[in-house]
């Protein structure tokens, strides 16, 4: 459908009378102008002529009268002059206004002059009746003929003006009648179009009203739900806020503990450094102990040398012993001569034995010493090696501890920094939750307002439907459907009202009730038939 604005129709309705009015005004104006021009011509020419003729005639008549009375009083000569002047003036006007042959005016003027001259010439003896004066009669004839002409001309103008007026009036009448017909037709067309449009709008408004009714109900429910949800959210937020505060306290505690840990780790790092230094000293000491052990080893060597020397003594003792045995053998062989030698040999043998025993003892002591010293050396060596290895291990462990404590310190610093960031973040979160809480409370109040607004909207929709009904009455003269009350009551109960294409209503039930489709069967509140 071509979209035509209602203003276009109204413009048509306004424009047509304006055109008619303008045309009529133009016709009126042209008529008036034409009539005016005729009237002006009538006034300027026939009327002026006639008026001048009347003045001339009255002046002539007055002069004639004065002429008859002249004998009684000459004091009127001034008045005569004045009248003469007026007559001459009228003749001058006549010259301008007369439309006929100007010779008639000249003839009149000459006849008047002849007459007036005759009057002044014969003043003393001019006392005689006017009818007997031929000049006067000629003059009157001339005047009358001019008057007759003017009258004829006036009638002519009048008839022309009348004819013109009549023609104009006819045209005006035709125009008015045709305009009225056009206007009536346009009005019918426009009113029908407007009716159609307004009916369409009304249907839409009706549907819209129903939709608004339904939607406002939905909005009211949603707002209620939103309000409930928002309240729950607000309480949850408050719980969150309290949890956040607990968390914040915990994080603060963490920060404090991290501070303490940092200090402790710094002290630990220092202690580890001290221990590391001490361990270095210990390693030096262990080196010195190892050196001392080496001294013991050299001492063992010295003792071993003693042992070697003891062996030489042993050898000497052994050889001495063998020598003493051989001496004994020789002494035995010498018999009696060898007795003394035998004793000597025996003594030598005894000495050798003693020396041997002493040497053996020394040797044993030295062996024992060497053995002990070796054992000590070996033990010491083992212990020193073990100690060195332990110290090295300890040193590496302490080094590791130092590094680890440095790392721990770094980690604790990072933890501290992270905890501080966390605390700041939690603080911000606290603020955010506070803002959120405010927003939620605002939302709750807004939801309540929205609920109220939805109810208000509902009321407005009902009002709108009522207004649509009034508009329907205004447009159609009666209400086509009176289903709004039913719809309203149904909608207020939470149901949905659907306006079908054929004008029927469909009431969509809620809470498990079945949908109902109704058909309008009669006017009134209970005028629906279930389909």
């Amino acid at each position: 459908m071509k979209k035509v604005k209602i203003s276009h129709y109204l413009s048509i309705l306004v424009t047509i009378p304006i055109f008619i009015l303008v045309g009529m005004l133009y016709l009126g104006q042209t008529s008036l102008t034409g009539v005016g021009s005729y009237m002006e011509k009538l006034y300027r020419n026939p009327y002026a002529t006639s008026s001048s003729i009347k003045d001339i005639r009255s002046g002539v008549f007055e002069l004639q009268c004065l002429n008859l009375e002249e004998n009684q009083s000459l004091k009127n000569s001034r008045k005569i002059e004045e009248i003469n002047k007026n007559v001459e003036k009228s003749i001058e006007i006549l010259k301008i206004s007369y439309l006929g042959d100007h010779e008639h005016i000249s003839a009149l003027e000459s006849k008047y002059k002849l007459w007036i001259n005759s009057l002044f010439e014969r003043r003393p003896s001019s006392v005689q009746p006017e009818r007997s004066n031929p000049l006067y009669n000629n003059l009157l004839e001339a005047v009358d003929s001019i008057n007759m002409y003017a009258d004829t001309k006036g009638k002519e103008f009048y008839s022309k003006a009348s004819l013109y007026t009549k023609r104009k009036i006819d045209v005006f009448l035709y125009t008015v009648i045709s305009s009225i017909i056009v206007l009536v037709l346009a009005s019918i067309f426009v009113s029908r179009r407007l009716n159609h449009i307004i009916s369409g709008i009304m249907l839409k408004l009706k549907k819209g009203g129903v939709v608004v009714l339904n939607e406002s109900n939905e909005i009211a429910k949603s707002s209620k739900a939103l309000s409930d949800e928002t309240n729950e959210a607000a309480s949850a937020l408050q719980e969150s806020a309290s949890s956040m505060e607990e968390l914040s306290a915990m994080v603060k505690n963490n920060v404090n503990q991290a501070h303490k840990s940092k200090n402790l780790s710094e002290e630990m790092e220092k202690s580890a450094k001290v221990v590391c230094d001490k361990t270095s000293e210990l390693i030096d000491s262990m080196g010195k102990i190892a050196e001392s052990n080496q001294d013991i080893a050299s001492l063992v060597l010295a003792i071993e040398e003693i042992a070697e020397k003891t062996k030489i003594i042993d050898d000497i003792v052994f050889q001495t012993k063998i020598l003493s045995f051989n001496a004994s053998v020789e002494a035995e062989r010498a018999g009696e001569f060898g007795r003394g030698f035998s004793v000597v040999a025996q003594e030598v043998s005894n000495l050798a034995k003693t020396s041997g025993r002493a040497s053996t003892e020394i040797s044993e002591i030295v062996k024992s010493s060497v053995k002990n010293a070796q054992v000590i050396y070996e033990n010491n060596k083992m212990r020193v090696e073990k100690g060195s290895s332990l110290v090295d291990d300890t040193a590496s462990f302490i080094k590791k501890i130092e590094e680890d404590s440095a790392n721990i310190r770094l980690n604790i610093e990072q933890i501290l920094s992270a905890s501080q960031d966390q605390a700041a973040g939690i603080s911000q979160m606290n603020e955010a939750i506070g803002q959120l809480d405010q927003s939620t409370q605002l939302n709750a109040s807004m939801a309540t307002q929205s609920s109220t607004a939805a109810l208000e909207l509902n009321q407005q929709a009902i009002n709108l439907q009522a207004m649509v009904g009034e508009l329907e009455i205004l447009v159609n003269g009666h209400r086509k459907s009176q289903d709004t009350d039913d719809q309203r009551s149904f909608a207020q109960e939470g149901g949905k009202v659907l306006i079908l294409q054929d004008g029927h209503s469909k009431l969509k039930g809620v809470n498990g009730t079945k949908d109902k489709e109704f058909r309008k069967v009669a006017n009134g509140a209970n005028s629906w038939e279930k389909i």
Binding site: D315, F318, I322, F325, N326, S328, V329, E332, Q346, S349
Partner: protein
């Protein structure tokens, strides 16, 4: 009373009359003579004289002698004009023994080398040996010839 020379072989103490001993020498390098009995260790050069070395320990069944011991020495006997060096573990002493106090053990066992037993004052048992039984003369001769 006779004087006896006491020496030690394989933990046993033997005593031999002093007159049967020629001399005591320090251990020397032994020249091995092949294809002989095991107890014949070889010969040594004793001041230009060839002397057979006998390992009594092997002959007595007391194991093998080792000369590494510093107490080891060679006791040289003269048997029928032949010098024989016996490896002894240690030379002990020179003692005087009353021959009547020697207990004769020649009848008890078929001993060749040990002839009697003598108990000392400090309760040590000395085996009184006979140097003639050390070696058979023919073996000594043979050795000498071989050397």
């Amino acid at each position: 009373m006779r004087r006896y020379f006491v020496f030690c072989i394989g933990g046993k103490k033997f005593a031999i009359p002093m007159l049967e001993i020629e001399e005591v020498v320090l251990p020397q390098e032994i020249s091995i003579v092949p294809e002989q009995d095991k107890y014949l260790k070889g010969v040594i050069n004793l001041r230009g004289e060839i002397v057979t070395v006998v390992d009594i320990k092997i002959k007595l069944g007391l194991g093998d002698s080792e000369i590494v011991d510093k107490k080891t020495c060679f006791v040289v006997f003269k048997v029928d004009g032949h010098k024989v060096a016996v490896i002894v573990d240690e030379v002990e002493d020179v003692v005087q023994i009353q021959e009547t106090e020697i207990k004769d053990v020649r009848d008890l066992k078929k001993t060749k080398f040990v002839e009697g037993l003598y108990r000392t004052n400090n309760d040590q048992l000395l085996l009184i040996a006979n140097s003639r039984k050390l070696l058979e003369i023919d073996v000594i001769e043979k050795l000498k010839n071989a050397a």
